[in-house]
Amino acid sequence: MSTATGTRRVTTAKAMAEGIGLEMQRDPNVFVMGEDVGAYGGIFGSTTDLFGEFGADRVIDTPISETGFIGAGIGAAVEGLRPVVELMFVDFYGVCMDQISNHMAKIHYESGGNVKVPMVLMTATGAGYSDAAQHSQSLWGTFAHLPGMKVVVPSNPYDAKGLMISAIQDDNPVLYMFHKGAQGLVWMEKNPRSIGEVPEESYTVPIGKAAVAREGTDVTIVTLSLSVQHSLDVAEELEGEGISVEIVDLRSLVPLDTETVLESVGKTGRVLVVDEDYKSFGLTGEIAAIIAENDPGMLKKPFRRVAMPDVPIPYARPLEYGVLPTRDKIKAAVKDLMA
């Protein structure tokens, strides 16, 4: 084992960019492209400082042409390069979903396993700053529903770096979905958990492995992304009220670590799923189904979920926070489970 180079506190955005930069140093086939990933450093900081280190040849600003450059990423990956491509907001999927779903995710399968697509598609998700219906969605359930791409959703700086390195090293297409509100941006309200201890050296966080972000005995919260940070806040508050909350941070949706979920639910017998994505036909229902298929008797109380109601995300602050999975809603749901 090499000498530890130590940790320092960095933002999630910086941790992501560090992960990309370390892989670019290690493997000349890795390059980045997307809108404003160059001198700007990514609108949400995902490519911070990479342009200065690697230059325009490996950190490539693209035209506003998502079908074109995501497709180009696929073609480059098919030829053995390892592109990291950014779709600025996941909400822009509508202009490039054919490349993502019909090509990036299907080529390996359609080819009978003969063609690999080692590509990372990173994209910003999430609400909370009044960007309204077309710039605030989570949508991970939509992508996780479509076979052929891995889907990772980090909640903190440590996982952001380790999952990025794993994603780049993976031989499959990986959709890397980061929450704007968890990036630690100076220009957006953030949870202090968006800045954290991160090793300077390279390391991986395995894709398909959930983390128990906090151990507890009374209630399991299964969640991901920024909602992990909110849930940790709630768990700390509830500790003072004598409620012990365990938090499972899924980190990956595809593959999904059902074992860790079932182990925790089996221990507590009470489960709340918190999801910033739309409620119906999505992650919350999937977790309920997994529990029901395994053993419905493991629940002492009926399954609960806090998710985005099935409405487009509204603009005005009272409306937006009316639908978001806030700390208050999470706390109320946990207390209800303990009532």
Binding site: G71, I74, N114
Partner: protein
């Protein structure tokens, strides 16, 4: 162009035609009396490229091992002209384990990484992928090129325009080939496309655009040679629109009642025309015509026999190959 080049192109066109004709026979052979698209040894949609051989043959004559092609839903002629193994391709069309994709892809989703050949059933969406392959060739410092093939109907897709722009702005070694067979399924070009020639659209992206008339394989050869040389030299992308002929329906089973010029298609068949031209030049004899046809018959029959005698996949294999 030498005598051997001409003969090789004629031979390749005959080979492709024999393939498409026999696949048509085989496709329909077990779908009667009640025609059912999902029935028979070759199920599903079938888009055959008879009549469009000059496009594939004239372009692929310039390609070397390592050059890439992305083809659309009508891919067989480009696949065969680009060295894709006929046995494996046929086995894929029959959904067999010996197929290019072990039966997972079928006729619209043929992948042959050895020859950098792929196709997509979504029109114009192979163009961005070809741009990426070209980008990889450029970044690796090779002189390989990527050819992106699509029909004239696809030239109205956003992916087409995005790809032209991307290729031009990054000076990528891509050749965009539009096969204008006059019909986007049942809609004629003049009812769907502003401007008579898609070659004119190239100017909007600062790249050369050439339209080849008369489904003439030698004219395609000339235009493609210039475009491919240009791309190999690092001078960027080009567009070629080839006015070709859809001899059969959009898909098998298409009665083509919408098509007023249907009666004249056989008169416009490019293969007898090219044979006559080569005979006039004195480079093709009746004996050669017969022997070229006989060779094609034998090769295609053997490929169909290979496919039919290959094993079908087991149902549980459907769960394999989602991830590497």
């Amino acid at each position: 162009m030498g005598e051997l080049d001409r003969l090789a192109m004629y031979q390749q066109m005959v080979r492709i035609r024999q393939y498409e004709s026999r696949i048509m026979q085989e496709y329909h052979a077990d779908k009667s009396p009640a025609w059912d698209i999902g029935a028979g040894l070759i199920p599903g949609e079938m888009h055959l490229a008879a009549g469009q051989e000059p496009a594939a043959v004239g372009v692929c004559a310039h390609l070397k091992k390592g050059d890439a092609i992305t083809a659309p839903h009508r891919p067989h002629h480009f696949a065969l002209a680009h060295r894709v193994d006929m046995n494996k391709m046929t086995a894929e069309i029959y959904g067999r384990t010996t197929g290019l994709c072990k039966g997972k892809g079928g006729h619209m989703h043929l992948f042959d990484p050895e020859n950098h050949f792929s196709c997509s059933g979504i029109i114009a969406q192979g163009l961005p992928v070809a741009c990426g392959q070209a980008m990889a060739f450029q970044r690796k410092g090779t002189d390989h090129v990527a050819v992106a093939v699509t029909g004239e109907g696809a030239a109205n897709q956003g992916a087409f325009h995005e790809s032209l722009n991307l290729a031009a702005v990054w000076n990528l070694p891509v050749i965009f080939v539009i096969e204008d067979n006059d019909w986007a399924i049942s809609v004629p070009k003049d009812a769907s496309t502003a401007g008579a020639s898609n070659a004119d659209r190239a100017a909007g992206y600062g790249m050369p655009g050439v339209r080849v008339e008369d489904n003439d394989v030698e004219a395609v050869y000339e235009a493609a040679g210039a475009a491919i040389d240009r791309a190999r030299a690092g001078d960027g992308p080009s567009l070629i629109e080839i006015h070709t002929l859809r001899l059969f329906g959009h898909f098998e089973g298409d009665a083509q009642a919408y098509r007023p010029e249907l009666e004249t298609v056989n008169e416009r068949d490019p293969i007898p025309q090219y044979a006559a031209a080569l005979q006039e030049l004195g480079v093709l004899s009746e004996d050669q015509i017969a022997s070229i046809q006989a060779d094609a018959d034998a090769e295609v029959d053997a490929a169909i026999e290979f496919a039919k005698s290959s094993p079908e996949p087991a149902p549980e294999d459907a769960l394999l190959h989602v991830f590497a």
